[in-house]
């Protein structure tokens, strides 16, 4: 790392788990999370020269969030029918060891994934990516008051979903 600017490899190695976690909580599945992480790292690779030392996690969270929102907009414009996976390139299922770590909060992850994205994104950025309301507002291009409202309503919806699921 020179002048506080990490190399692409350092970002992937040191922040890969953070990036993947945010992507997974936003997208709700491994396949889309992998797409998001790959695209995010591609942008990191292209944009590192312009990166100004600061909150690297904030920068990464912003990149992956914008990619997620772009993807959501594209899907709304034209629903895709994915082509069959190329068996030579398809990423194999997550190993069982990785799955076991997700079993316990599976219902919570499902409830999170079921939240409308307007609420899910700020909740994930706040509670998973540990971003401040100000940072979230900047990333989403909305007022802080909107972030505050969406986080609260998102948590309330999440609570309702979990409660209904339990009963």
């Amino acid at each position: 790392m020179a002048d506080g600017i990490p190399t692409w490899e350092e970002v992937a190695r040191d922040y890969g788990r953070f990036l993947y976690t945010v992507a997974y909580r936003l997208a709700g599945n491994d396949d889309d999370a992998q797409d998001l992480v790959q695209e995010a790292l591609l942008r990191v690779r292209r944009g590192l020269e312009r990166y100004e030392p600061g909150s690297l996690e904030g920068w990464l969270a912003r990149i992956v969030t914008n990619l997620f929102l772009d993807d959501m907009r594209r899907r709304k414009r034209r629903p895709t029918s994915a082509l069959p996976d190329d068996p030579d390139r398809v990423v194999p299922p997550t190993p069982a060891a990785d799955e076991s770590s997700r079993e316990l909060p599976a219902h919570l992850q499902e409830a999170l994934a079921a939240l409308p994205e307007d609420f899910r994104v700020p909740v994930v950025l706040c509670d998973v990516a540990d971003q401040s309301y100000e940072q979230i507002a900047s990333t989403l291009g909305v007022p802080v008051g909107t972030v505050r409202s969406r986080i609260h309503r998102g948590r309330r919806l999440l609570r309702t979903t979990l409660t209904e699921g339990a009963s």
């Binding site: 490899e9 797409d35 029918s81 390139r89």
Partner: protein, 150 residues
Amino acid sequence: MSEHELTEDLLSAYLDDELDAGARADVETRLAASAEWRTILDEVRDTRDAVRRLPAVDGPTEFWARVMADDTVVDLASERRRRRMPRWGLAVAGAAAAAVVVIGVVAVPQPNRVHPAVATLSDEHAARSSVGNDVISSLASIAVPTRLGR
């Protein structure tokens, strides 16, 4: 509270320490007076804490092995975009490629497609001029007819 309307939305911001001192004091006053607000605060806190306790997620080992390989990020990203292109997208791309070929064949001037052929025109002109006294035109038969002006 001077600037903020005292709404329930403030409870999450209160938990997250995202309120200024005035708003925070107003929320605390309301909490002291309202059992309903205290219940909501507890529920929101539980939910927030549950999300925050969700474990970090590691991608599959093979995924990271590919990502860390040289230039694989670029290749995989392109490949995934291709796989996710809808069928009609492929059809449009194919049609566009075909259109480019057709335009190339039809619209781009081709050599040796001048009608009548320059060589024929030149010979006919030479034959006609041979019966007259036009000295210049009689030279036409020895002109080089191909790729004129190109």
